[in-house]
């Protein structure tokens, strides 16, 4: 009798071990399939873009098509770089961050504090909808608000506004989620010391959740830094280095689009894409690192 039971159990265990191995194999296979695109993308960008990455790439503005053609015909690398794009992206992203971060964090705090009120669930739903609005639509809206009425022409301000609206929902939700993760006991500890409410938020909750808030902001920036469509309708692009927020301005993704339309600039497309990709990747990795360090 006992032998019989042992036999049955052995058989069962054998088939289980086999099933286990098959399942593990499938999991590995799909994990590999999932990560392969990113590896191919980075490989492709490096292979095609590395030769344009030099000092001039970061310190000179984009060349005109004639300069590029001459260089190509002589078998040299294209002169010039993407400095006007880099400064433009920096200007617009900073401006967008200045607009979106305070507002986003305040709304996030509001949602956290009034989690169960009906009004806040409306705000939360609107935030989710905002996140789904196509970026080109935000560009159009910013065109009508800013380009037509405020700056009377394409401008960095208009571009930043579109980007800021894109950042808002991300910052709002990450702020709310971060604050929710802070144990209620920390809040009560401050409350029991007689600390007024606004100070609990400013001096206890925000410092405690700071790394989470920072991560949310970094991810929001990495999300908008490569946006092209809304900028075409608002910032337009510019061939010179500019910090004037009322004037048209360039951006790295805008330059990529311009390079794409010029048969002489093909190499610069890849180099600029590589640069943008590395920037986004770095932002993502830094935010992951911050989150892990907190945990």
């Amino acid at each position: 009798m006992l032998k019989l039971i042992n036999n049955i159990e052995n058989k069962k265990i054998d088939s289980r071990i086999l099933g286990d191995k098959i399942f593990a194999g499938i999991v590995f296979l799909f994990a590999g399939i999932t990560i392969s695109p990113i590896i191919f993308i980075i490989y492709e960008l490096i292979v095609k873009g590395y030769k344009q990455i030099n000092l001039a790439f970061f310190t000179e503005i984009a060349p005109d098509t004639y300069e590029a053609m001459v260089a190509l015909n002589n078998g040299k690398v294209i002169p010039g770089g993407i400095l006007n794009g880099i400064t433009g992206t920096l200007t617009m992203v900073s401006l967008a961050a200045i607009m979106a971060i305070p507002l986003g964090i305040l709304i996030g705090i509001f949602l956290y504090e009034n989690a169960s009120k009906r009004y806040s669930s409306v705000v939360r739903d609107i935030t989710d909808i905002l996140q789904g609005v196509p970026s080109i639509v935000l560009g159009l809206i910013s065109y009508f608000w800013i380009v037509k009425n405020i700056t009377n022409g394409f401008s960095a301000l208009a571009g930043s506004t579109a980007l800021a609206i894109m950042m808002l929902p991300l910052i709002i939700r990450s702020t709310e989620e971060t604050l929710k993760m802070i144990p209620e006991t920390i809040k009560e500890a401050a409350l029991a010391l007689g600390v007024p409410y606004h100070k609990i938020i400013l001096r206890v909750l925000i410092p405690t959740g700071f790394s989470g808030l920072l991560t949310g902001v970094l991810l929001a920036i990495s999300r908008i830094i490569g946006e092209t469509a809304p900028l075409m309708l608002t910032a337009l692009g510019s061939m010179k280095v500019s910090f004037d927020i009322e004037k048209p301005i360039s951006a790295v993704p805008l330059l990529i689009w311009e390079f794409y339309n010029d048969p002489n600039m093909v190499d610069l497309i890849w180099a600029s894409s590589l640069f943008l990709m590395i920037l986004v990747l770095t932002l993502n990795l830094v935010s992951k690192y911050i989150l892990e360090k907190r945990g």
Binding site: T185, A189, L193, G194, V195, F210
Partner: protein, 260 residues
């Protein structure tokens, strides 16, 4: 029940007809009237869910934070009705220590002790701060353990040390009363012992109200005890008397372990 107030002369706290209910339906504390003796340890005992913590949190008006909790009845601190005091001022006079140690994770040990001053924007000289920190940490017998690592984060300490740090944070503000909500339930036996010894020392200077579900803790460190059951105050008196000779049958059953 009125006798329970009268038997304590010149109480630091007196509760009159205090009731607390959740969502207007579930009553957690029913009509409790009691006086708390100055510079003594008063333990609140009872089985889980009997309303001990709810009662305690009514004393520093922590319930104000939650709109679904209703508190009725009156509480007097040194003869003053607490509902007429600002909640901020009240909580400065009544310190609280929680079930789980909750030092502020972003602050150093030093800053945690003076958090009450710091967060309330009370400016102190460096020498005054140093004095407060050293005295409070000495009072909780933590000074020798942490004096060389005051700049480290409060969360760097062990659980028992963290809880003593939290007590230091509460007493640094020189409160009239300290409320402790099962302060040792998350600690190991050695850390528990240390906190218990500390409480016995602290009662020289402070009035302590201690919620506990640990009977031997109540017996060893409290002077007065309350026994609560299903939201009602069943019995209140000197701890020795209550443990030796409980009046109510339910108290006796609880103390002899018939239910818990």
């Amino acid at each position: 029940m009125d006798e329970l107030i009268k038997q304590i002369k010149n109480p630091v706290l007196s509760l009159q007809n205090l009731s607390v209910s959740y969502n207007k339906a579930k009553t957690a504390v029913t009509n409790v009237s009691v006086g708390i003796k100055r510079n003594k340890v008063t333990a609140i005992m009872g089985p889980s869910g009997c309303g001990k913590s709810t009662l305690l949190r009514a004393i520093n008006r922590m319930h104000d934070l939650y709109p679904n909790i209703d508190v009725s009845g009156e509480i007097f601190l040194n003869g003053k009705n607490i509902s007429e005091m600002s909640d901020i001022l009240l909580r400065r006079k009544i310190g609280m220590v929680f079930q789980r140690p909750n030092p502020f994770p972003t602050m150093s040990i030093y800053d945690n002790v003076i958090a009450g001053y710091k967060l309330n924007g009370i400016r102190l000289k460096k020498s005054e701060k140093d004095e407060i920190v050293e005295k409070a940490l000495n009072d909780v017998v933590l000074w020798n353990e942490v004096k060389d690592s005051l700049t480290k984060k409060g969360t760097f300490l062990s659980g028992g040390q963290q809880q003593r740090l939290c007590i230091a944070r509460a007493i640094a503000f020189l409160p009239d009363v300290i409320l402790l909500d099962e302060p040792t339930s998350a600690l190991d036996p050695i850390a528990t012992k240390k906190v218990e010894e500390l409480l016995i020392e602290l009662k020289e200077k402070y009035t302590i109200i201690l919620v506990t579900h640990n009977m031997s803790q109540a017996a060893s460190i409290s002077d007065y005890s309350m026994f609560m059951y299903l939201g009602e105050l069943i019995e209140y008196g000197k701890t020795k008397t209550m443990f030796i000779n409980p009046v109510d049958k339910r108290t006796e059953e609880y103390l002899t372990g018939k239910f818990s």
